[in-house]
């Protein structure tokens, strides 16, 4: 093999699942308490301390779950697609593992966003569902996530499954802006904007602060779950390797 430069050696070592497993093992003791305390603070603040909304009363408090979940659902797709692209271009196995881990998390977050949005819709709009541009594109995002998961599951050979679902994720990325644009445009065409999500600028500062905590908490929580899923996948894939066997014989838990 060609001699690799120093930078490249680092890059490829990072691609080693074992390296990832060991390094993230050191992060977990920090990440877990941090994520959960941020979430706890944000939730408590948002649900109990923040003042009720002038128009919506108490029901607005669902925002503290809805907005972070929607936000990370979108971010999650870029994580997925970038991980897939890196895996395809540099043939890094670890990147594929991260991609595989990102799909179910993203799907779950998207589902939470849709679900909380629907619950919120009932008191505010008087209906659970409306074909608003944003909501529709969120639904399509859920389908994209599910598609990546289904393809991953259906292809039996792991290598092929990784590469194929990465290609699918890439195609999906190209389409996300188009989908968003088209759906946005479609909505404004057919129906006057009677129902609009309250814009954040009108939000009270005392509501924004706990929301900020929740978003940070969700971010860390996302990272945490991604790492845990990836570690689980690594153990499964490398179960026959020596280092995993010695791990298991030491009775380590992930």
């Amino acid at each position: 093999m060609r001699k690799l430069g120093r930078k490249w050696r680092w890059f490829h070592r990072m691609g080693s699942p074992r390296w990832f497993y060991e390094i993230t093992g050191g992060w977990l003791p920090w990440l877990i308490p941090l994520a959960f305390s941020l979430l706890a603070i944000g939730l408590f603040w948002g649900l109990f301390l923040a003042p009720p909304d002038a128009r919506q009363g108490q029901s607005y408090r669902i925002i503290f779950v809805h907005v972070p979940a929607s936000f990370l659902a979108l971010v999650g797709y870029y994580v997925l697609a970038i991980a897939g692209a890196v895996g395809l271009i540099w043939r890094i196995k670890m990147s594929f593992i991260l991609m595989k881990a990102a799909a179910p998390i993203g799907a779950a977050l998207t589902f939470i966003a849709l679900f909380t949005g629907a619950i919120w819709g009932k008191p505010t709009w008087g209906t659970y569902w409306v074909w608003d541009a944003r909501i529709t594109s969120m639904l399509i995002l859920l389908f994209l996530y599910l598609g990546v998961m289904a393809l991953q599951r259906a292809l039996v050979s792991t290598d092929t499954a990784f590469k194929a679902s990465a290609i699918l994720a890439l195609v999906g990325t190209v389409n996300i802006p188009i989908i968003y644009k088209s759906v946005d445009w479609w909505y404004t065409l057919h129906q006057p904007a009677t129902l609009k999500l309250t814009s954040s600028s009108t939000m009270h500062i005392e509501m924004l602060q706990p929301l900020f905590f929740m978003i940070c908490g969700f971010y860390l929580f996302y990272m945490l779950v991604l790492i845990l899923f990836a570690r689980l996948e690594i153990l499964q894939r490398e179960k026959s390797s020596r280092w995993v066997r010695s791990l298991v014989s030491e009775d380590c838990v992930i």
């Binding site: 393809l151 092929t160 194929a164 389409n175 989908i179 759906v183």
Partner: protein, 230 residues
């Protein structure tokens, strides 16, 4: 000897001809997606409303959805037979850029699905009492749109080819990607019905088609290699 073989290897047009004639020969014939399109369109007045005014309102959307379904359900078969009988392996070891045969097959799919459907759409429009000024835009949008559907669908079909008749999996993967073209396609027709300028959505479709024409054959041939173990 190798040079001769190389230069004469069946290229794009050969694949177009072969695939078109294969689907004419196949049991259900080339007219199959077309028949499906007609059959399903007839279900609409029966189950929703036979009222001409209502039908006219629904027409652009219904025609477009049914065209999309006819394309979606037939695209599955673009590579799967070749996979099952071993032709795909022969394609993989053909000494030329694989994107050309793939593009050939995509064009053939469009010729037996999208194009006849486009030609037939005025008849359906007539049955649905579509206003006169909408026929032109409808034909143009269907022609460009079904080509886009064939291109994007081929990428998905090549990802799922080794699953045998993945059947509905392909619809989960393809429908989200089909959505934008559906929006632009129906807008073109509804704009025309509403006597608004309909060139903007049609132009967008054209741009999307141009990009897909370049990217999709490459992506599909890449995906075919990957799903066959390469």
């Amino acid at each position: 000897m190798s040079n001769i073989a190389r230069s004469t290897h069946p290229g794009l047009m050969a694949y177009v001809r072969r695939d078109v004639s294969l689907s004419i020969r196949s049991n259900s014939g080339a007219y199959a997606p077309l028949l499906f399109f007609c059959m399903v369109c007839t279900l609409v007045p029966i189950s929703i409303s036979p009222n001409p005014q209502k039908l006219a309102e629904l027409a652009p959307g219904i025609i477009w959805i049914m065209a999309l379904l006819a394309s979606l359900l037939s695209i599955e078969r673009i590579f799967v037979f070749d996979y099952e009988d071993g032709s795909l392996e022969q394609m993989l070891i053909a000494p030329n850029m694989m994107a050309f045969p793939v593009l050939g097959k995509i064009i053939a799919h469009w010729l037996v699905t999208g194009l006849p459907l486009t030609f037939l759409s005025p008849a359906i429009g007539l049955m649905f009492a579509l206003p006169n000024n909408a026929y032109g835009p409808m034909i143009l949008s269907l022609a460009a749109g079904t080509a886009y559907l064939s291109l994007v669908g081929a990428v998905i079909a090549s990802l799922t080819v080794s699953l045998g008749r993945g059947g509905f999996l392909i619809s989960l993967l393809a429908v989200p990607l089909y959505m934008p073209i559906l929006v632009f396609g129906t807008s073109t027709v509804t704009y025309a019905v509403a006597k608004m300028p309909w060139s903007a959505p049609l132009a967008t479709m054209g741009a999307m088609l141009a990009i897909a024409l370049v990217l999709c054959p490459l992506l599909a041939s890449w995906a075919l290699r990957v799903t066959n173990g390469g």
